[in-house]
Amino acid sequence: MNSSKKIAQGYLFLKPFNRVYLPTNIQNIIIKNYCEQNDLLLKLSVNEHNIKNCWMELFSLLKKKDTDIIVMMSIYMLPDNKKDFIKFCKSLKKNEKHFVFVFENLKIKNINELKNKMNKFKLFKELNKFI
């Protein structure tokens, strides 16, 4: 195994995100393709539970010491309510992880960057409701 490669873990979402629904096998193919193109070592992806306001598997991933990067389809898969997002940020601060959001073509390396992008994409979501 090439130890210089960064270890990525795929995160699959069964619920719609920003009005998009994508079957998990398709999400998996896209994540695999992304990791191959970017020379990342992909570990088996995890499915988030199909429960409203539940990001349990994401919270587990944040704590994983053997994972460098979490790859998911979209920034809109992250907690979208204030309380859960604050908890998520606290956990991310403790457990530094990089994020890749394939649809938005974003690579996030720290929490401030993530907060900025989250605000920006929240605004886009609102705008999209009117146009």
């Binding site: 195994m1 090439n2 069964l14 619920k15 629904y21 079957p23 998990t24 070592l41 570990k43 088996l44 995890v46 499915n47 988030e48 539970h49 199909n50 429960i51 539940c54 990001w55 349990m56 598997e57 994401l58 919270f59 587990s60 991933l61 944040l62 704590k63 994983k64 053997d66 908890k87 956990s91």
Partner: protein, 265 residues
């Protein structure tokens, strides 16, 4: 097993282990996988299926493991009706557990767990939490004897039920916290080659790094009653036509499908 023993055991434990019902089909699948693996690793020696399956790690680089798994998956599932052959391995038992009108997962999955490989770990989960019907059964068939860390583990019915019901307690901790707190309660299931395991998707289960010196190859797929509910929250992913395919439709159902009874005028 005596009549009704299967039903009783499943209700009590959420899983059963029994002998493969169609040995001919089992051997056919085994042979096909053996030949695919031989070709993939360019293995020229004569050996038994048992030897090669248990010792793949001696001939295969870890980096190629997923490619091999996908090659087996694609080749076997290229037969569109492979799910029927797979079903035959436990048909009578599945019918006892879910009924005779059945929906089957349209693809059969393959797992290869080589010794000390961390990349193939599937951590504690319940399929019913991930958008699959809680009424299905999972048919898990190993091609090698499996035991201890070479196998999968399950948590018992009571623990799984209580944990799932109180899952919100662990909302910000994740499944790892539950697993780490209770990992001593898990039980590795021993299944011999030539046997199958049928288990409920509501049992918490998973696998750990295989610490034995043998590789495990296993297949898994899901079967449910055609008319039990599918995942109520998933519109596309785990429904007929996407994830499941009807395996058996009885004449009364087939006939009735031609009639549209009006709901209102």
């Amino acid at each position: 097993m005596k009549k009704n023993k299967v039903e009783q055991d499943f209700i009590k434990n959420g899983f059963i282990i029994s002998k493969i019902e169609n040995k001919k089909n089992f051997l056919k699948i085994e042979k096909k996988i053996y030949l695919i693996i031989k070709k993939f690793i360019n293995y020229k020696k004569k050996s038994t299926e048992k030897y090669l399956f248990n010792n793949i790690h001696k001939y295969l680089d870890n980096k190629k493991l997923n490619n091999l798994r996908l090659t087996i998956y694609k080749k076997l599932n290229s037969d569109y009706e492979f799910y029927k052959t797979y079903f035959s391995l436990a048909a009578k038992t599945i019918e006892k557990l879910v009924g005779t009108e059945i929906a089957a997962q349209n693809k059969i999955n393959f797992s290869i767990q080589m010794p000390n490989d961390n990349s193939s770990k599937l951590e504690m989960h319940a399929d019913s939490l991930s958008g699959e019907s809680k009424f299905q059964v999972v048919l898990w068939v190993p091609l090698t004897n499996v035991f201890k860390t070479k196998s999968m583990y399950v948590f018992d019915k009571n623990f799984s039920k209580k944990t799932i019901e109180k899952l919100d307690k662990y909302k910000y901790d994740g499944m790892d916290k539950i697993y780490n707190k209770h990992k001593n309660k898990k039980k590795f299931i021993s299944v011999k080659r030539g046997e199958f395991l049928l288990f409920s998707p509501n049992l918490l289960h998973g696998n750990v790094t295989n610490l034995t010196n043998e590789t495990r190859i296993s297949m898994n797929s899901r079967f449910k009653n055609l008319f039990s509910t599918y995942s109520n929250k998933s519109q596309f992913g785990k429904r007929i036509g996407y994830f499941y395919v009807p395996l058996t439709i009885k004449p009364a159902t087939q006939f009735a499908l031609n009639f549209n009874i009006p709901d209102e005028f």
